[in-house]
């Protein structure tokens, strides 16, 4: 069978009956649009979540020591961290924090104070926006300096340059040496809570806490996802031996992120599958109209058979016609779906979501496949017509 001619006749037959073709395609249009919209929205949210996780910091291992009334392991933990493979570990910092009051002139603000090393910003994924970061010397020399988060800068200093200004942290005077850029976290994921903090050298912890404490929290920043897993294993072993089961927690957000990712993937598959059902309904519509077409064109089929068309040519012709119909519907559906995805994303999630090439590809080829699949029965019926009987039909 000449494919070019089959395609030409397919399009002619679609264009010749625009109204009917459109109604037939409507099922496929709605089906593929629904698949595109639902999957794209889920994927868009998944990407948004991934971005938030990226901002929080990936490959970040949190170590919590919960052991009570036992000896302080903070120095040992620090020493242990020093022995970790530098290939796997980018850096580590104590990560003890406390909620306290900050005062600058007459302004007061409740914030989180982190006691970190010079590697705090690296480990917790903060970018310096002005001034300088805490240095090794600040830590060693007990310098009363701090770097402040974006929200703190906003709340206390407004348009004033905070660098060099003195602030009171729980009554102790600290000099602001730098500011961190805002993480710009989504409200859903904590918003500016992540910017409402200051960091001071961990060696000054007693000055702020003014009581006994244990430096029980650490962050270890790993060089990669696989390094994260390897380091978690090593740290876990050490903690297990040192403080015993149930007295500590070592984890990375990577695990949570993977779990979330998997759950989004499942949701996408589920919704896409449900939307896919409407594609099946669309396919049945195509089968229906193809049966009508075969009946209408019985005489043409008879002529073709009389001049020597083998059965497979007739089958091919009608399959091409059915798949042209469904592919055209698929294309319209994808365009409609892409438009609706942008609109819904903007309306409900205030973000621009767009369909990925993969889902567009899948929607298009599933449409074609359904056209072929549901076209088989009408096409075979056409090919089985007896030429004499087909020619008798007026």
């Amino acid at each position: 069978m000449n494919l070019r001619q089959a395609f030409k006749m397919g399009f002619q037959s679609i264009l010749g009956k625009k109204g009917r073709s459109f109604l037939t395609m409507l099922g496929i249009i709605i089906g593929s649009a629904a698949v595109i919209v639902l999957v794209s929205i889920v994927q868009g949210q998944q990407r948004a979540m991934m971005e938030q996780f990226e901002k929080m910091g990936t490959n970040k291992i949190n170590i919590y020591d919960y052991s009570w009334g036992q000896t302080d392991i903070s120095q040992d933990l620090y020493d242990f961290c020093l022995t970790l493979d530098p290939e796997l570990m980018v850096g580590f910092t104590p990560n003890y924090n406390t909620w306290t009051q900050l005062r600058y002139k007459d302004k007061v603000s409740d914030i989180n104070v982190y006691m970190g090393s010079e590697m705090f910003s690296l480990c917790a994924s903060y970018e310096l926006s002005s001034g300088r970061d805490i240095s090794y010397m600040d830590v060693q020399k007990y310098n009363k300096v701090c770097v402040i988060g974006a929200k703190v800068q906003n709340d206390l200093f407004n348009y004033e340059n905070p660098i060099g200004k003195k602030i009171l942290v729980n009554g102790e005077e600290f000099t602001v040496i730098g500011t961190y850029a805002s993480k710009g976290m989504n409200q859903m994921y904590g918003g500016d809570w992540y910017d409402n903090f200051i960091v001071v050298p961990y060696t000054l912890t007693t000055r702020i806490i003014k009581s006994n404490y244990k430096m029980s929290n650490y962050i270890v920043k790993a060089s990669s996802a696989s390094a994260t897993e390897e380091l978690i294993k090593q740290i876990d072993q050490w903690m297990m031996a040192r403080v015993g089961q149930y007295n500590y927690h070592v984890y990375s957000e990577n695990t949570y992120m993977e779990w979330q990712n998997e759950s989004f993937k499942q949701t996408g598959l589920l919704l896409g599958g449900i939307a896919g059902i409407s594609l099946i309904v669309g396919g049945i519509g195509i089968m229906n109209i193809m049966l009508v077409t075969v009946t209408e064109r019985t005489r043409e089929i008879g002529i073709r058979k009389a001049i020597g068309a083998p059965r497979r040519s007739i089958i091919t012709q009608f399959l091409i016609e059915a798949s042209t119909l469904s592919a055209t519907g698929g294309i319209f559906g994808i365009l409609l779906g892409a438009g609706l995805t942008v609109i819904f994303g903007k309306l409900y999630f205030n973000a621009i979501y767009t369909p990925t090439p993969l889902i567009v590809f899948i929607a298009f080829f599933v449409s074609i496949a359904f056209g072929i699949g549901f076209g088989v029965y009408p096409a075979i019926r056409a090919s089985r017509l007896q030429p004499v009987e087909a020619l008798r039909v007026e």
Binding site: K305, A306, I307, G308, P387
Partner: protein
């Protein structure tokens, strides 16, 4: 001369065994040699069209053998019958039977497509259109042509794969006498070039242009003879037999 068509005691029975059983062909035996020009005549219901459908491999006999160009048609599969319709037979219908969506040249090209011809298809089809004098109308659709022109396109379609046999079922039935003449002249021309032509007609003026006339009545051959114009004995076959014969 070789046997091109050989029918041996062929029956075609519709609804066999039912009360409404119709015997369309009732034991027909017939030989047509290569290069003959045969007219099959008979009143309606005499079995002409059934015979034509069987000769054209559009239908198969209920009983009896049909050997076409050495092949036993009654034993061929669906796809082999398609091949025979495509290569061995050019069919011309009373109602032209062109595909309305396709242009003249596309209609003529169709048998070549089914024959699997890949190269110079347009040229071969154009050659056939030229043979019937319609190359200028190649890009016209059937609806834009007169009946005579449509039938000539149909003839071009029938001859484009150069089949040895041309079967024409009342080819002039829907045409006026001028266009009818033109069609018969083309068929005579094809015959003189070596084609075997079998046509069905109930028009005596058309039948007279044949070399051999076969008359059917009630599914049986009642006359089969050479036709010489002016010979009174030959003219006899052109007259409807009186009831009772």
């Amino acid at each position: 001369m070789e046997n091109l068509i050989y029918l041996n005691d062929v029956y075609k029975i519709y609804g066999e065994g039912l009360a409404s059983e119709v015997v369309a062909l009732n034991g027909v035996s017939l030989t047509i040699d290569s290069g003959e020009f045969v007219a099959i005549v008979g009143s309606s219901g005499s079995g002409k069209t059934t015979m034509m459908n069987i000769l054209g491999c559009l239908d198969v006999p209920t009983y009896g053998d049909y050997i076409l160009n050495g092949e036993l048609v009654s034993e061929l599969s669906d796809s082999e019958l398609s091949r025979i319709r495509n290569r061995e037979i050019g069919f011309i219908f009373q109602g032209f039977n062109l595909i309305p969506e396709l242009t003249a040249i596309e209609n003529v090209e169709l048998p070549l497509i089914y024959a699997g011809v890949r190269h110079n298809r347009r040229e071969i089809a154009m050659e056939a259109l030229r043979r019937v004098g319609l190359e200028e109308r190649a890009r016209h659709k059937p609806s834009e042509m007169s009946g005579g022109q449509q039938q000539r396109v149909a003839i071009a379609r029938a001859i484009t794969t150069k089949p040895p046999i041309i079967l024409a079922d009342e080819p002039t039935g829907n045409l006026d006498s001028k266009n009818g003449d033109q069609v018969i002249n083309i068929l005579r021309g094809l015959h003189s070039e070596g084609s075997t032509v079998v046509l069905i007609t109930h028009d005596n003026s058309i039948a007279r242009r044949a070399d051999r006339i076969i008359r059917l009545l009630d599914g049986k051959i009642i006359h089969d003879s050479k036709f010489d114009k002016g010979d009174p004995f030959s003219e006899e076959v052109l007259h409807e037999p009186a009831a009772g014969i």
